[in-house]
């Protein structure tokens, strides 16, 4: 049947199965066991901040490596002549991303376009892991390598999405200060949307403006990370729930959901890329 732990002799309950699938392979400093791999969610929680999800890191770096290798091969012999298959594919994506960047951002910046391309392809590849049947890789890791926990979709790990969105946030702050100067950036945060010609009223509005703009600024990385995480986490959860059905019924739900999910994974990758471009474009704008 759909139960992965049949090798153990006793079958896990449905909730055990789901929890097992949602547990990352965590390596960290446990207060009692020292530096070790966590056995179960409780131990992982006890490790606190000084722990790392080995599975998320492995898959995200592996997929990022695939992206780099693929595009490096495509770009290595790039010529203005008739492009080959791989070059053509890479150029198609580059053209698409370049178009998206140019539609939104009119300034000169050497970073934004490659950043957007990396985000789009990398996030797509990480999302794509969601379409691999939920038990394939965890089961293989357990049988052949003795790895207890294996979460293969990096974007269902909030650390991964937050790691990316906070990097983008850092870039937003960096470019805001670089383009507008520290004063200009502060003015943007404190002197709008409410403003007045009267100096006293103007400064009286500062706390209100700071609150509004501060929330808006902080919301950017949070919403960016949680949107991607939430979509993929929910999708993964549905796949896990479908996997609880008897094997002869699973296809009836998993196929429609997978087809729908193809849309979701591309869309989420695109949204992450597009919002990054928009935020960075806004950071370049003067008010």
């Amino acid at each position: 049947m759909a139960n992965p732990d049949s090798g153990h002799g006793e079958l896990p309950t449905a909730s055990e199965y789901i929890q097992h699938h949602l547990q990352n392979l965590t390596f960290g400093n446990h207060p009692e066991h020292g530096w070790s791999i966590a056995h179960g969610a409780d131990q992982a929680k006890e490790m606190g901040f000084w722990a790392i999800h080995l599975d998320s890191m492995f898959w995200s770096i592996a997929l990022g490596g695939i992206f780099c290798l693929l595009f490096w091969l495509g770009a290595r012999r790039a010529s203005a002549g008739v492009p080959g298959g791989l070059q053509n594919f890479c150029e198609m994506l580059v053209d698409f991303v370049d178009g998206s960047v140019k539609d939104t951002f009119s300034g000169q910046n050497k970073l934004i376009a490659p950043l957007a391309l990396t985000i789009f392809v990398w996030v797509f590849l990480m999302n794509f892991m969601d379409l691999i049947p939920v038990d394939f890789i965890p089961e293989a890791a357990k049988r052949w390598f003795g790895i207890e926990y294996m979460k293969v979709v990096p974007t269902t790990d909030v650390n991964v999405t937050l790691g990316m969105s906070l990097s983008v946030f850092a870039l937003i702050i960096y470019y805001s200060i670089k383009v507008k100067g520290g004063k200009g950036f502060l003015a943007e945060l404190t002197l709008q949307p409410f403003s007045s010609d009267n100096k006293i009223i103007k400064y009286a509005f500062v706390p209100v403006n700071l609150l509004l703009e501060g929330v808006g600024l902080i919301a950017k990385p949070i919403s960016l990370a949680l949107r991607l995480f939430g979509n993929l986490y929910a999708g993964e959860l549905i796949f896990i729930l479908i996997a609880l059905l008897p094997f002869y019924l699973q296809w009836a739900l998993s196929i429609p959901w997978a087809i729908f999910h193809i849309l979701v994974i591309v869309l989420q990758a695109f949204i992450f890329m597009m919002l990054t471009i928009v935020y960075l474009a806004m950071a370049h704008e003067h008010h």
């Binding site: 722990a51 790392i52 495509g74 002549g81 376009a113 490659p114 937050l162 790691g163």
Partner: protein, 156 residues
């Protein structure tokens, strides 16, 4: 759902991949694409230019052709005229030449007639003189009777 070092690890990996993409992926691809774009634009412009040039050449050919045609027609008509002139001239020449030949032949003929008549007269006079000698059996003084003989010759 624990926030932990994975966040920082992911951020570092992200930075690494973005830098790789910025250094080794984006520039060669975008350069190649821009170059190809420029090449295609050039090619299209050249094609348009050559099409225009071809059109111009065609127009030139047409004008030259029509000029040549009118010239040829002119030449033909001139040649015809010249031919007619030559024929007329030849006719006139022939007529005058024939007239000349005819008149010269006539004058020659007249001359011949005169000379024949003269020689005949001479012969007749000598025959008459010798006949008269025979009849008179004596020598007639040719000088003394020259006037008689001249009369005789004139009568013949």
């Amino acid at each position: 759902m624990n926030i932990n070092l994975t966040l920082i690890g992911q951020a570092i990996a992200f930075a690494g991949f973005v830098i790789f993409c910025m250094k080794f992926v984006w520039p060669p691809l975008i350069t190649a694409m821009r170059e190809r774009q420029a090449t295609i634009a050039e090619g299209l412009a050249a094609a348009e230019q050559s099409a225009q040039a071809q059109e111009e050449a065609q127009a030139e050919v047409d004008t030259i052709l029509s000029e040549a045609r009118t010239q040829a027609a002119e030449i033909v008509s001139q040649a015809q005229k010249r031919g007619n002139d030559i024929v007329d001239e030849a006719k006139n020449t022939a007529i005058s030449e024939s007239d000349r030949l005819k008149s010269s032949a006539q004058s020659e003929l007249a001359q011949e007639v005169v000379s024949a008549r003269e020689s005949l007269r001479q012969q007749v006079s000598s025959v008459a003189v010798s006949g008269a000698e025979k009849i008179l059996k004596r020598e007639v003084d040719a000088n003394a009777h020259a006037s008689i003989l001249d009369d005789l010759i004139a009568k013949i």
